[in-house]
Subunit: 453 residues, 2 copies
């Protein structure tokens, strides 16, 4: 058997909420006054259906029928055994990957985009705004809004906007507007452009612009959608890990030894891993590895602090690993991993010792992507290449140790809109960025005034 | 149920050969002397395993285990019910599509690329050459050669090479070389460049170059692979229609009324339709519609003749509908449909009255592609948009007639590498090319000297 496919009747009917099982409670987001943010303070930007999920202590949350109907267009996604990769590495490890690239926008992102669009539609919202890094999230929200019947406006980080010109065409094909961020359309964007007219932009800046664009529609019919970081986004992605568990059974695997995903904001990684984190909390021995770029080493070099989710203070303070909200990562092609912070739930799990983060430089990641393309056949997104590089490290370790480990990773997206990055790699234009410790420390100074988690 | 998925055990183990069931026999290819080409004359360019399939009268031909193992990486492909499209059209028709876009290269092409690479590898071949139009075929052969372990060189029609710069990066990611055709690497290419230095190129020219590059390796370790037109290519694609038949049963459909596919060389259309043509020969009432661009109207305006498969006489004479081997189609974005001829098996079926060809202009096709993207969610290749435009015509006809027709079409590929075409459409840069009758007649003059079918 090369891959395990499930029928639509095997699509999970509930999302899994790790917040019900954490040994210690997640720290709440804080307002500017240092007090926890109450759910009703979020109503200008999110619909109540999502706010309830954000703070829910329930372990299982029903997936609405209207969401399932759309997810079924491509879900359940296949779980593949990577026989060709294993063979080329000569490893005794059995490697599996969940293929989220088969969704129409090409990544795991529509799992939450569809849910978010649906809850907004239920509450009478007419338009959504958002930010996007590499473009996977913006494309997914554009797709979801077309499916549900909402307008959509996407602020895309300028470096990615320039590197990936066809992402905006893709979004337009689904009826959405996509503009480069920082833009002159918002106060946040104009302020940044005045200070740094040539900035490559960042997810933090783009989030500020998208939130501002939503709240400045005083009719209340425009809301904001975030593609990662928040608890409800992690929740919606758990469908990945829940399906994978069933599919590993179809391969007769009794246990998993290593779980790997790339981590920028944390959502694809959380989606695959959280259902297994529950097992780990209950005593299972699993290495759970979020992989980040060495040039944006949030989990591996950032402190666990309270920091803003965006660059200009439109969001509450979140308890997370962070490089500081003014940190602008080097312009690597894995735009989706260029985020200064990390999802509070992923951060909490790391802080609790439930995960072992790792960072890898981009040249090793592109080499891994080529190996994967020429063995398994799939051209992965530059983000996903970080997971594959770690998988290869683990498979080689299993070979050295002579252990039959079971490794599971998330093929979070394809790279068919990211071929400029591959071209730059072939042309020798890419380099590894070593991030000086003083740059990290400089950016963290501003956080001194915030409460400590 | 939104889609029918099959397990790997339901993957067909045999290809279906329509040549066993045609009411009258297919006309043979002819050599320069006007006599039928014998199988051994083809050995300089093809391996014997494929030549045997080219001339086989057997109805069912076993798919080798080594081919199945690779096809299983993405097959069986899903069959979707297009509920959202039906709803938006308000049609009583039930519309189904076979989703070949889920293959790693993004189209149906690897179905034959893998088989061709496998048979070549069995006979000791080290490298394959080929041509590509839009790039779907070149990408598929690059993918297949990486899977099987062969070198690969692709001559890409210049207009597409320029319109789709990332196709060559994709092929390189799989380890293949891709160069623009006409090139200065072959006699055929140099001769054309001298006469027409600014030519957009054509599939006919690129075929000449690829064949020349293969036969000029006197060691015999380089052979040529063709992505469409030939009988063995049609054969390999029948896996599409065979799977679709099983999947329609899963939807409880007893019969199909209309089958639609876009047709350039004919392979995706043949792959879906041939197993149903057998039913039509046996009395079933089915409209089987190959759809071509109005700017390259081979089946709808070309005569049924003997003509060359390429532009400079490297191939035998084939009995087919043709616009003349020197016809260079206007530079539409559906590069895969810019072929002067049509597969002899498809041509024969049309000539026998088993099919009802139709041509559609590109603006109508792009409008159909947008409708499809915003309803079903998938961004199709410009080639595939021709099928979708015809599906919409048929669904609207069913609405007018108030008939519950069952329409099945081939979603032959996604358009994620073709977004430049969508951009041109959004920018109002595209126009419909009316092909003057005298242009057609001028190109056909050269065929007067050839035998008549």
């Amino acid at each position: 058997m090369t891959k395990a496919v499930l029928g639509e009747k095997d699509l999970p009917r509930q999302w899994y909420n790790l917040n019900a099982d954490f040994p210690t409670p997640l720290r709440p987001p804080l307002g500017p006054d240092g007090n926890p943010v109450s759910p009703d303070m979020l109503t200008p930007i999110f619909p109540m259906g999502l706010i309830e999920q954000e703070v829910s202590p329930q372990r299982w949350i029903d997936i609405p029928e209207g969401v399932l109907e759309i997810l079924m267009k491509w879900r359940p996604t296949p779980l593949h055994r990577a026989y060709s990769l294993e063979k080329s590495l000569g490893t005794p490890a059995r490697i599996y990957y969940k293929n989220e690239a088969v969704s129409p926008p090409g990544s795991h992102k529509p799992n939450t985009a569809v849910a978010q669009a649906w809850y907004n539609k239920q509450e009478g919202v007419k338009a959504l705004t958002t930010e996007t890094g590499a473009g996977q999230w913006g494309s997914a929200l554009a797709f979801a809004c077309a499916q549900i019947g909402l307008e959509c406006k996407v602020f895309m980080v300028r470096i990615s906007f320039d590197q990936k010109p066809y992402r905006k065409v893709m979004m337009k094909t689904w009826g959405a507007d996509c503009i480069a961020s920082p833009s002159s359309e918002t106060n946040a964007g104009r302020a940044i452009l005045e200070k740094m007219p040539d900035t490559p932009g960042s997810l933090g800046i783009a989030i500020s612009e998208a939130v501002e664009a939503a709240v400045s529609d005083k009719s209340g019919s425009t809301k904001y959608a975030l593609g990662s970081v928040l608890n409800h986004v992690m929740l919606h992605q758990t469908i990945i890990g829940l399906e994978a568990k069933k599919q590993l059974q179809a391969f007769n695997e009794k246990k998993v030894d290593v779980i790997i995903g790339c981590a920028g904001g944390g959502s694809n990684f959380a989606g695959l891993s959280f259902p297994f984190v529950a097992d780990k909390i209950n005593g299972a021995k699993i290495d759970i590895i979020p992989v980040e770029p060495a040039s944006c080493p949030t989990l591996t070099k950032g402190p666990f602090v309270y920091d803003l989710g965006d660059s200009s203070g439109m969001t509450p303070l979140l308890a997370m690993y962070s490089l500081g909200h003014n940190f602008i990562p080097p312009p690597i092609h894995a735009g989706g991993l260029r985020y200064h912070g990390m999802a509070p739930m992923v951060s909490h799990a790391v802080h609790e010792g439930l995960m072992e983060p790792r960072s890898i430089h981009q040249l090793e990641c592109y080499a891994a992507a080529l190996t994967f393309a020429r063995t398994e056949g799939i051209i992965c997104a530059p983000e996903t290449s970080h997971a594959i590089a770690a998988v290869i490290q683990e498979a080689e370790k299993a070979k050295e140790e002579g252990k039959e480990k079971v490794i599971l990773f998330n093929m979070s997206g394809h790279g068919l809109l990211d071929l400029r990055g591959y071209e730059a790699y072939f042309n020798g234009e890419l380099e590894d960025y070593e991030l000086p410790q003083e740059v990290i420390e400089e950016n963290l100074k501003e956080l001194a005034a915030y409460p400590k988690p």
